[in-house]
Symmetry: C2
Subunit: 334 residues, 2 copies
């Protein structure tokens, strides 16, 4: 399959595989580089006659009338009006965990199955949490800076350890759970808050605490809540006040969990550190405001990016499509 901005591929009919196939797939926003060649080949194999690849949603609507499959990159918006323009649509595959821009309720009403990618970057994000925390508490940046300058003095450098510290986790889902496992490995006192209890991890020593209690105890605090009406502003002004002096807070979850004004006020006191990697989804003015504080460490959104996650992402994306075609859809959200 040769990929162009818009390409039409007529398929040969000599495929004797009995698996159902789509008639026409429209692919939106998934650049050639996002998937390996073998993955593109497999997608090609899932479609009987035509595959349209569009760089973004501009020309999408013109191509929906006979499409039975839509494959979307992260963030592509699919509203009621789009679904109405695609009367043959059976399946939407999202190359992301987030699917908030798709009208899931309406898709469900129309019998369209939507699959997302759950868990492909769980371990990538969890290891990043430990990496970013350790990088900070061991002053790796300052150490490297000195090394590059030929200054091999450790004078004035300070560091702490994770062992025997309270490592708090807000939201003990897949990623939070994996962070808990890693923190246990370091010998931290791992505590969590979640709206549901987690017997399996609790049996391994991860202790439940009420949110405020946990926030006031934590030496390290990692946020792993999904974003919804209930969780927006979870780390509010009152809770930010509860943070211990010296606490290191890391947010690899949506920025909406945190009250930015209250955070900026606390950062100005200089007694906590805040690490975030969700900069891509934040408002420019919020980023500019936070970046003024030396004790706020802002990463590009790199927590979920690893070679392993890239492989897993494609594997799950393809398995989702295959599952649907074989009559056993997986990772469905509609």
């Amino acid at each position: 399959m040769i990929l162009k901005q818009l390409c039409i591929v007529k398929k040969s009919k000599n495929n004797h595989n009995l698996m159902n196939k789509f008639k026409k797939a429209v692919i939106v926003g998934i650049k050639e580089s996002f998937l390996d060649a073998e993955s593109w080949q497999k997608i090609d194999g899932f479609v009987d006659s035509k595959v349209f690849v569009l760089p973004d949603s501009t020309e999408m609507t013109d191509n929906l009338s006979d499409a039975d499959c839509l494959l979307l990159n992260f963030g592509v918006r699919i509203g009621k009006e789009d679904i109405d323009k695609a009367p043959r649509l059976k399946y939407i595959g999202v190359l992301a965990t987030a699917y908030g821009k798709i009208d899931i309720e309406y898709a469900k009403e129309k019998g369209v199955i939507v699959s997302n990618l759950a868990g492909y970057s769980t371990n990538a994000v969890a290891e990043f949490v430990l990496a970013a925390v350790l990088g900070h508490i061991r002053q790796l940046e300052e150490g490297k800076r000195r090394g590059k300058q030929g200054n091999y003095s450790e004078a004035g450098m300070a560091a702490t350890e994770i062992r025997d510290k309270v490592f708090g986790i807000i939201g003990l889902g897949r990623i939070g759970g994996r962070v808990a496992e890693l923190a246990l490995g370091f010998g931290a006192y791992v505590r969590f808050f979640d709206k549901i209890r987690k017997p399996e991890l609790e049996a391994r020593g991860v202790k439940y605490e009420e949110a405020d209690e946990l926030i006031s105890q934590a030496d390290f605090l990692s946020l792993h809540l999904p974003q919804n009406k209930e969780t927006e502003g979870f780390l509010n002004a009152q809770r930010i006040q509860l943070l211990k002096s010296g606490a290191v807070v890391i947010n690899t979850a949506p920025a909406e969990l945190v009250d930015i004004n209250a955070l900026a006020e606390r950062l100005a006191k200089g007694d906590i550190t805040f690490i975030l990697d969700h900069s891509d989804e934040m408002r420019k003015e919020d980023l500019e405001r936070l970046s003024k504080y030396q004790n706020c460490i802002i990463y590009p959104p790199i927590a979920y990016i690893t070679a392993e996650a890239r492989i897993a992402k494609q594997r799950i994306f393809l398995k989702n499509i295959e599952g649907f075609l074989k009559g056993s859809p997986i990772n469905t959200v509609s």
Copy 2:
């Protein structure tokens, strides 16, 4: 006790504690800032009449004739001639793990007990190994650089994970063993080479391999051998050739374990990364040579520096002195 460059403290005799005490302690190279005030007070309590604190060994010999206790910082040299000048000497306490500059054989011959600090920085060093490896494989420095510049793009950034990788450990002593535990927590395939087998860690999944076999398999390789005639140049030219392309090697052990010429040659190929933090004990020309390679990351000697290690260090140092005075010396090396 007031500390000066050279201070003499006459002790009051109203102490009714029945523990034996030293008559005269000479402290060499341990700056006031190296120990907390409470630790100095305790040392004061261990000595009956005089405590001499010397910044270095220049004036040491003049003060040895009636000294029964010598407390030394890392690296202070005590030769046969010094011991001969101290006929009343009973105890040497070293504020370090290394004691290579003390003539231990002669001290033993003269019945002088020497205690060192074993294990005070075990966890500090082990966590640093993970920190430095993660910092590298997650490109934290580049991420922070972008963040500081207001560039929140992850484009072109690459990362890998520790999980499911071969994490090789050369020397499974205290520190190597703790690194093994941490790497197990990450879900790595942890392998080790040591001249003695380690049934306890092996039962937990750390697998023994011959050195060459391990070196050729490792995605990550961490060196934890002590320096001695047998281990010098352990990572020699032939073994450096065995390293996999993409391997990340970290040395928090003495630099003498590695053949610097062979390392430089392999670094020039650009397909491995070498991380070291023992820069303080390396020859200037070796450091300059290695620092030319972008794939050689040189830290000041910060692996062992944590607040927790500082506390443990003082605690063990004082316990050693107390143990000797109570007739049960601990951590003895003579």
